[in-house]
């Protein structure tokens, strides 16, 4: 059975000029122990579809789907109190901006212990012990001392490690990483990706990597979903996608990589890909 199953997900936002469809009929499945990458440019609806699955969108968003289940349980019809027990425990998310997504008013120790208190109900000593373990697992030096630090006292890479520690605190079955390395240097990016892949392999988690970086996709994913303007353009395993992309959009995306440049000019997506509704509707 698939861990997360999404069928025909539609997310609409009400705007002054009528409803805006951010996600338009996207379907995907994630299995246990699998790494799925969702690739797309900004505005392709890749983050919004995952936020919809987590139930983290504001009330102004209209979310409909033929199917939205986690471990066989329907997330859409579930009461909010039930859903809150799953979110943060069995499904966890790492957000894009590590420094901005931690609360600047509390120590990182408090923020990680909050998760342990709410979801696992551990007592104070056990929480502290587990928090130190988690910090060790994500490679933060002097974990006992660092628990008392505030986010602004740590670097971007360190904050991202704290975010990961919080996300894996309850041994989630599914981890969603929303552009986990976009704000970071390549050397730190490598460390964070290695860490995520190690944790994923150790715990057999399902992992969804949301990214716009084809290099990150190539280094991590088993299977890839390509999204464009809220529609799914292509779904393939990672080797097939890079070797033999089916959709014109994927081909254009790969050609625009500076690594693949031949000659003086980079091919741009608008030159190679004509956005017609027919191409999207075909899949």
């Amino acid at each position: 059975m698939a861990l997360l199953e999404i069928e025909n997900l539609v997310v609409e936002f009400e705007t002054a000029s009528g409803p805006f469809r951010a996600v338009n009929g996207v379907s995907m499945k994630v299995h246990e122990g699998e790494v799925l990458a969702i690739v797309g440019e900004s505005g392709s609806g890749k983050s919004v579809s995952m936020l919809a699955a987590m139930g983290l969108l504001p009330w102004t968003a209209k979310v409909t789907a033929d199917k939205l289940t986690f471990n066989g349980r329907d997330l859409l019809s579930m009461p909010a109190s039930e859903r809150r027990k799953i979110i943060g425990k069995d499904i966890a998310m790492i957000f894009q901006e590590p420094v901005a997504s931690l609360n600047p008013c509390f120590t990182v120790g408090f923020q990680i212990e909050e998760v342990l208190r709410v979801h696992l109900g551990l007592d104070k000593a056990a929480r502290r012990k587990r928090a130190i373990e988690l910090f060790e697992a994500v490679g933060i030096p002097d974990p006992a001392d660092r628990l008392g630090s505030y986010p602004h006292q740590m670097s971007g890479g360190q904050c991202q490690r704290v975010m990961i520690a919080i996300a894996i605190a309850c041994n989630p079955k599914l981890l969603i990483a929303d552009e986990p390395t976009t704000a970071l240097d390549v050397t730190i990016q490598k460390q964070i990706l290695d860490l995520l892949m190690k944790l994923q392999a150790d715990h057999g988690m399902g992992l969804i990597m949301i990214t716009h970086n084809m290099g990150v996709v190539a280094e991590t994913a088993d299977r890839v979903v390509v999204q464009y303007k809220g529609r799914k353009m292509e779904e393939a395993d990672v080797l097939t996608l890079f070797e033999n992309p089916k959709s014109n959009y994927t081909r254009a995306l790969l050609a625009a990589l500076p690594d693949n440049a031949t000659g003086d000019r980079l091919p741009t997506i608008s030159e190679l890909f004509v956005d017609d509704q027919v191409e999207g509707a075909a899949r």
């Binding site: 990016q189 990589l257 690594d259 000019r265």
Partner: protein, 275 residues
Amino acid sequence: MSVILEARNIVRDYHVPGSLLKKAKTVHAVKGVSFTVEKGKTLAIVGESGCGKSTLGRILTLIDPATSGDLLIEGKKIDIAKGDMTPEMRRKVQIVFQNPYGSLNPRQKIGDILTEPLVINTDTPADERRDRAMTLLKKVGLEEKHYNRYPHMFSGGQRQRIAIARALMLNPKLLVLDEPVSALDLSVQAQVLNLLADLQDELQLTYVFISHDLSVVRYIADEVMVMYFGEAVEYGSRDEVFADPKHSYTKTLFAATPRADVESIRARLARKKAA
């Protein structure tokens, strides 16, 4: 080939004043960097955040003075700490900043943003300023109708085009590009890089390109300088540096860059299966 820019042993220290409980300390942001850039060429400065590459960019753009060392533009020594800068000297170097969402004033129209450098540095009459702004708008791939719009009406790629047009308003010899594409999507990134390459050919511009993305650097640079904790640990032509990196940090940097070719993916999947 004439040398446009020469830096000799540039040093920049920041003094952090002490307080009751803290001792004053000095941060050495740039520790003696030397290089030359020839006309029409691109020097890429690579390094991680905090290595001093943006500080160096600010010194080259004549925003911040260097603590010591010589900066020569077209063979002429320039020291902004002395305060004898003429508008002609200022005009030679312009900068494009990293984040086009932050570098354009949201309360100014595009036309005013573009003509402001002329108002400050020259006494060009208003109609000529307007003509020049229109020409450059078209040159960077925008249209005349955009002249009276505000920055929020544009996408990130379009804003970066506006920032590039503004930098070109004064006909500079040297353009410092401080991570100009790192805030942009892959497809838009390709368009902006193409635009920069076209402008360089057409106007014989010299670029100093600050970046941490090696794939972009490999595409655009003629020469590469790698910085690490304020020092230039590697400096040479692009092919030399990419083919045979000497310093251990450069090697680390290459190893950390994700590869998107089919062989690397095959190798990774094979490793995963074996594990």
